[in-house]
């Protein structure tokens, strides 16, 4: 069985197993009915990889929490529903969980489109909504009350890249190559806003339509512009094509920056990309991994035959964040939980980075920049941390930059 198939089996097993596991947890946990949280994620459709990876991370934390007595002395139960990577299905599932399961909170989406659909429902119905992995800025736009986002917003990633370059090579010449998707546009908007302020010069700016498969001509254009760095953000497998075509043309790996990298992407870039740089929010090569973080990586790797990335990490931390907020709230009441989330000041269990939310539910933001040291096929890789920064979400006019 190849790795893809293995991963699929593991992911589906995780999705099924987490539901089955709840029965055991119920029996094991302390007295009281479970505290239910609706977890609406992408188990089918184009975002399946993220949804199933997220559920795999969630499972570890849920098991640990319930073995340790749950939250408020009751088991924590994540009722998982598939949103099919479809905003309408995400709303329908949210409504079902709200009305029929009486969940105390909603969580789960890993796509900005589905998260935005759930955002509308959660804000309207006044249900605390903890978004694990979705970076579109408007999820925490001014006036947001019930939504809290764990992942930094994408415009902030662009800001962070400019700050990284400001420190790494003052006056750097940068080329941008990116796909025409909401996430990529938001990253570029943040970067373009901050670039002149960080004295970074944009010498080429190439936007590819969705579904692009080749960049031979544009890679040659970029090479001819002689940039110090190329920021590469291709959608899907096109990201690998962009990277390889730049490398073919003689662009050095050290000149290539990927704004974000998860395990499967690092495998896709491969050994020839050793030396290239990627942004992330959690990685096996972080300097600041806690004991729990190292333990999570080790157990996740054993179970899934690959290391976790920030997607799995955020979904691993989600139950812990909810547990702490529930304990602080002192009851499984939606309003009290919302208040507790808005006042939460804690740290990620796995890396120790701060978790606190501003008045709109945006997190105190941060980003790591990693450099690939080596890639061992599709089994593992080595990376080293070369930069870290933190910022407040509104250090740039994020909600005006990306509507």
């Amino acid at each position: 069985m190849n790795i893809n198939m293995k991963a699929a089996v593991v992911a589906v097993s995780a999705a099924i197993g987490i539901s089955a596991g709840m029965a055991t947890d119920d029996a094991r946990a302390q007295a009281g009915a479970p505290i239910k949280v609706g977890f609406v994620t992408e188990l089918t459709g184009p975002w399946t990889f993220f949804g199933t990876s997220c559920v795999a991370g969630l499972k570890f934390a849920t098991d640990e929490i319930n073995k340790a007595g749950g939250a408020l002395g009751r088991p924590l139960e994540f009722v998982i529903q598939d949103n099919q990577t479809n905003p309408s299905a995400a709303v329908a599932a949210s409504r079902n969980l709200d009305v029929n399961d009486k969940v105390v909170a909603l969580s789960g989406p890993t796509s900005s489109d589905t998260a935005l659909a759930m955002y509308g429902y959660a804000e309207q119905q006044k249900i605390p909504f903890l978004v694990p992995v979705a970076a579109f800025p408007q999820l925490t736009k001014p006036g947001t009350k019930y939504t809290f986002r764990i992942e930094p917003n994408a415009a902030g990633w662009g800001y962070s890249i400019a700050k990284f370059l400001e420190q790494r090579k003052p006056g750097a010449k940068v080329a941008l190559m990116y796909s025409d998707a909401a996430l990529m546009r938001a990253i570029v908007a943040g970067f373009k806003y901050q670039a002149p302020r960080s004295k970074v010069n944009i010498v080429a700016d190439v936007l590819f339509p969705q579904g692009s498969t080749d960049a031979t001509v544009q890679a040659a254009q970029v090479k001819a512009a002689n940039p110090d760095y190329v920021i590469v953000i291709g959608a899907g497998a096109f990201d690998n094509v962009l990277t390889n075509q730049l490398l073919d043309l003689g662009v050095k790996p050290e000149q290539i920056i990927h704004p974000y990298g998860i395990t499967s992407q690092v495998f896709g870039w491969g050994q020839r990309s050793a030396g290239s740089i990627y942004g992330t929010f959690f990685d096996i090569g972080l300097d600041s991994l806690t004991k729990e973080g190292k333990d999570f990586i080790s157990r996740f790797d054993s179970a899934n035959s690959r290391p976790p990335s920030y997607v799995e990490n955020y979904c691993y931390n989600t139950p812990y964040i909810l547990k702490e907020a529930l304990q602080n709230a002192g009851s499984a009441d939606r309003e009290k939980l919302r208040d507790a989330l808005s006042k939460l000041k804690t740290r990620e269990l796995t890396s120790g980075v701060p978790i606190e939310f501003d008045k709109n539910g945006a997190r105190k933001e941060y980003m790591y920049f990693m450099q690939i040291v080596s890639v061992d096929g599709k089994r593992t890789y080595k990376s080293k941390q070369i930069f870290y920064n933190e910022w407040d979400a509104e250090v740039i006019p994020v909600y005006d930059l990306v509507k």
Binding site: N2, T44, P46, P209, V217, A219, A224, G236, A237, Q265
Partner: protein
């Protein structure tokens, strides 16, 4: 001429040639089936994608690219025979069968698209094949991957063989006779139904090969099926239904149009530029450039 200009020029020529060759190949497959069987196969793009996905699965399971390509081509032949036997032949004698075929294959498109989405959707960020040939050849300052040279050679080789087959072989002459007049061909002793079957098999296999070459040269995702389907039909209409030479010429024009527009305008404009070229050509030659 500076190195930078040479680099851009060489990249434009290589992109135009490779893209054009693959477009031409797929359009040739489409035009043979349409010209002979009168079958506007709306599911062409899905079969193109099926070939690419099958090769991706096999290489992911550890097969070499060359072996995977041979296996997928064999699979394509078997599937084409099966489809012809189960579905296509039942409509050979239906009046206005082109409409019936279009509706049937549209349904097939929906079914295949749904299946691909369910089974492969989760891996859509990973669809690339390992190269058939490793290494790079420098053309002036431009490094052209040997893998793409191999794709180019195979595509033009198959197109040349196809042209020779249709021009000089007994089967080719019979096929062209059916193209031109089914009844007259039958009166001259041509087994029209056998020619239909062979044409469908040949055309579908070429489309399968097109999918494989595309996957070797580029990354792909599930939307490539729709893009390729529209492109192949557009080439066939502009080139003239039934004309392999037309498919080759217009395929190359479309390939170069995309490459040139993407450098002088933008990659976004390039995606629809060739369709604008199609409309412009049809305004002056509604029957297609190479129709007889």
């Amino acid at each position: 001429m500076s190195d930078a200009t040479l680099l851009i020029l060489a990249s434009t020529v290589s992109t135009g040639l490779i893209l054009g060759a693959i477009f031409a190949l797929v359009a040739a497959g489409v035009t043979i089936v349409y010209g002979c069987v009168w079958l506007p196969n709306a599911s062409n793009g899905q079969f193109f994608l099926l070939a690419a996905l099958a090769a991706w699965s096999l290489t992911g399971a550890g097969w070499g690219s060359a072996l995977a390509i041979i296996a997928v081509l064999a699979l394509g032949i078997v599937l084409s025979l099966l489809l012809e036997w189960v579905l296509i032949r039942r409509l050979y004698d239906v009046a206005n069968r082109n409409v019936a075929y279009f509706v049937v294959t549209l349904g097939l498109t929906q079914i295949m698209s749904g299946i691909f989405s369910l089974t492969y959707g989760r891996w859509s960020d990973q669809f690339t094949l390992p190269p058939l040939v490793a290494g790079i050849t420098m053309i002036g300052p431009f490094p052209l991957p040997n893998n793409r040279i191999a794709v180019l050679v195979i595509a033009f080789g198959v197109l040349a063989a196809l042209f020779a087959l249709l021009r000089y072989h007994r089967y080719g002459r019979a096929l062209r006779a059916v193209f031109q007049n089914r009844e007259a061909a039958a009166l001259r002793g041509v087994d029209v139904r056998a020619i239909y079957k062979l044409s469908f098999l040949l055309g579908s296999s070429i489309i399968f090969l097109g999918g494989l070459l595309f996957a070797l040269a580029y990354s792909f995702d599930l939307t490539v099926a729709w893009t390729m389907s529209v492109t192949a039909f557009a080439i066939m209409i502009v080139g003239g239904p039934g004309s392999v030479v037309g498919a080759l010429a217009v395929g190359l024009v479309f390939g170069f149009t995309q490459a040139i527009v993407s450098i002088f305008a933008s990659p976004t404009a390039a995606t629809f530029s060739y369709l604008a070229a199609m409309l412009a050509i049809l305004l002056f030659k509604p029957t297609g450039l190479f129709s007889k």
